[in-house]
């Protein structure tokens, strides 16, 4: 039986920005591979290149050099439109500031990308309701973001990221705005959802609990990765 393609393969990736006469190297020869259902915690100080790495892995940016494959598909040379379509079909994001559409209900927020792409229908709606149920939000399906707590909004955002059944989900500081109890719940939820679906994830974080729950922690500084030892997933 052949191995399924890795969720993410970054090979020799370099991202350089021009800055006046000089240039800024945001990422320098980064190699990173994630297995199909691997959860990786990405830790590093600000300015270390975390955001750039996530942007390239999430098909938001094209690298200056190197190769990027997501779910076995090469995305290095895709045009802007190609990247957008790829993100729509294969990538999920959960942002630090949750960014739900304020005048849409929880269910409508899950369906927003499908509607903008003209793909809404019964199946999409069923999927949204199923996700809301799994995330413990079935009774809040018709609530507006203003009526939801911080933790509930975060869960809606996770549901939104999973609507397209992505290969890879990128989480940007998912627990930074939550207290310790809520944060713990969210972390477990993330791990359970990712593992249940066999979806890989990169979680940018400073939170110790996440590094504890992740399969692997990767440290980044000045655009370089240092590998840390694998952690065994926490029990319970």
């Amino acid at each position: 039986m052949s191995q399924p393609a890795p969720a993410l393969r970054m090979q020799g990736v370099r991202k350089v920005y021009p800055a006046g006469d000089d240039e800024v190297v945001a990422l320098d020869h980064v190699n990173l591979t994630l297995r199909r259902d691997e959860i990786v915690a990405l830790v590093g100080p600000s300015g270390s290149g975390k955001t750039t790495l996530c942007s390239i892995a999430g098909a938001l940016l094209t690298p200056t050099e190197g190769e990027v494959e997501v779910g076995g598909q090469r995305i290095t040379d895709l045009s802007g439109k190609g990247l957008t379509a790829f993100r729509r079909d294969s990538v999920g994001f959960v942002f630090q500031t949750v960014n739900l559409v304020p005048f849409l209900t929880a269910r409508e927020n899950l369906l927003v990308i499908d509607e903008l792409s003209g793909r809404s229908g019964r199946k999409a709606r069923q999927r949204a309701d199923q996700l809301l149920e799994e995330l413990g939000l079935a009774d809040k399906a018709d609530a507006l973001p203003a009526q939801l707590s911080g933790g509930q909004k975060q869960r809606v955002a996770i549901g939104r990221a999973l609507m397209n059944d992505p290969e890879l989900v990128l989480f940007d500081e998912p627990t930074s705005a939550l207290d310790s109890k809520l944060g713990d719940q969210v972390v477990r939820l993330i791990r359970d959802e990712m593992k249940a679906r066999g979806t890989a994830a990169i979680i940018v974080t400073h939170d110790e609990r996440i590094t504890h729950y992740a399969d692997r922690t990767v440290h980044i500084s000045d655009g370089h990765l240092d590998d840390a030892a694998d952690h065994a997933p926490a029990v319970g």
Partner: protein
């Protein structure tokens, strides 16, 4: 698309100010258009209702009845060109009319026309001597069939035997009588302007399938240049004030449209600036710029359509409330439709200014932003 409509439905107060301003602009546009059409109708009705294709004046009269005199020989020459039964004489005189039951100084300004070729809605035979058909506008003055109007200082009597509509001239109601009646009234009130021997002020000519402009030229050639012939449309253009009025109104209407563009552009620019981070998130999640912008465009169209509906309603209400002949106002379907079209076009142009901003939103900015 649904996203855009939902925003309109759930946050209507966001769009309230822009909708209000656009409604005021729409009402202004419809009123201006109605006023222009009303003024034009009041100036041009008499000419538009002529059953002919061309109208002949004396050379140098510049399309003015009063300055034109065509003796019988000229009529004969024109009759040779088109045939005797396709020519009709026209004469006019502007006088003040006295009505029964009104004070000696309470005159209604009218134009008495003498005609041969009957206007639309008038019977073939023509009125008898001393009789005339009156324009609808005189109904507002309380005139009824059988009333006798006393025209001018000589108080020449003319009896109203029927009504005809949309035949005003120079914003005045008109009376349509036989050429003999006209000559008699003219002689009594303007002795210096007598037109003897079958002379008239203008000739209405019917073409036999020939284009009116060509006919007009042929007539002027045949009369050796003593006439100036116009197509009916050309004669209308030559009426004093008509073309100036049109261009003045066109400028005002044009500027109003530009204001609409600016209002839409400013409002939707503000809206898209406020939504920049949301658009970034939507783009990161895989929404294309096209679908985001289509939503914004749809909002602009809906808001403008709502404003236009109120404008049309206001214009129709005005049209119904204003009695015919008092205020020059005419809300025609063509004008209303074109005003709505103009506003919608202005809305689309206004929104286009925000396209670049929506295009430029970088989805990568959604990550790592502590906003």
């Amino acid at each position: 698309m649904t996203l855009a409509l939902r925003e309109l439905r759930r946050q209507p107060s966001r769009f309230a100010v822009a909708t209000l301003i656009l409604t005021l602009i729409a009402v202004l546009l419809m009123f201006l258009g109605g006023l222009l059409d009303g003024l034009e109708a009041g100036s041009t009705g008499a000419l538009r209702q002529q059953p002919g294709d061309a109208i002949v004046f004396a050379e140098g009269a510049e399309g003015s009845f009063v300055r034109s005199r065509l003796p019988a020989e000229v009529r004969a020459a024109v009759a040779e060109v088109v045939g005797e039964d396709r020519v009709g004489g026209l004469g006019s005189v502007q006088l003040g009319a006295r009505l029964d039951g009104r004070g000696p100084r309470d005159l209604v300004p009218v134009v008495l026309f003498g005609y041969e070729l009957p206007l639309a809605g008038l019977p073939e035979g023509g009125p008898g001597f001393g009789e005339a058909y009156a324009d609808d506008a005189l109904r507002n003055e309380g005139v009824e069939v059988g009333d006798v109007l006393r025209l001018g200082p000589a108080r020449s009597e003319v009896e109203v035997v029927g009504f005809v509509s949309d035949t005003k001239y120079a914003q005045q109601a008109s009376l349509w009588a036989s050429l003999d009646t006209w000559r008699s009234v003219l002689a009594e009130n303007r002795p210096g302007a007598r037109l003897d021997g079958g002379a008239v002020q203008a000739l209405v000519v019917q073409a036999d399938g020939e284009p009116a402009a060509a006919l007009a030229e042929r007539i002027d050639e045949a009369t050796g240049g003593v006439t100036d012939s116009y197509t009916i449309a050309g004669a209308i253009d030559a009426l004093p004030g008509v073309s100036q009025q049109r261009s003045t109104f066109a400028q005002i209407i044009g500027v109003t449209g530009v204001i609409a563009v600016v209002v839409v552009a400013l409002f939707f620019a503000l809206l898209t600036v406020e939504r920049t981070s949301l658009y970034g998130v939507l783009k990161a999640l895989g929404a294309g710029t096209g679908s985001i912008f289509a939503g914004v465009l749809l909002q602009a169209v809906v808001v403008t359509a709502a404003a236009s509906a109120v404008g049309v309603g206001a214009a129709l209400l005005m049209d119904a409330l204003v009695p015919a002949g008092s205020l020059p106002f005419d809300a025609t379907p063509a004008r209303l439709a074109s005003s709505v079209g103009y506003l919608l076009f202005a809305a689309v142009v206004g929104v286009a200014f925000s396209l670049r901003r929506v295009l430029r939103v970088d989805p990568a900015s959604a990550i790592g932003g502590a906003q």
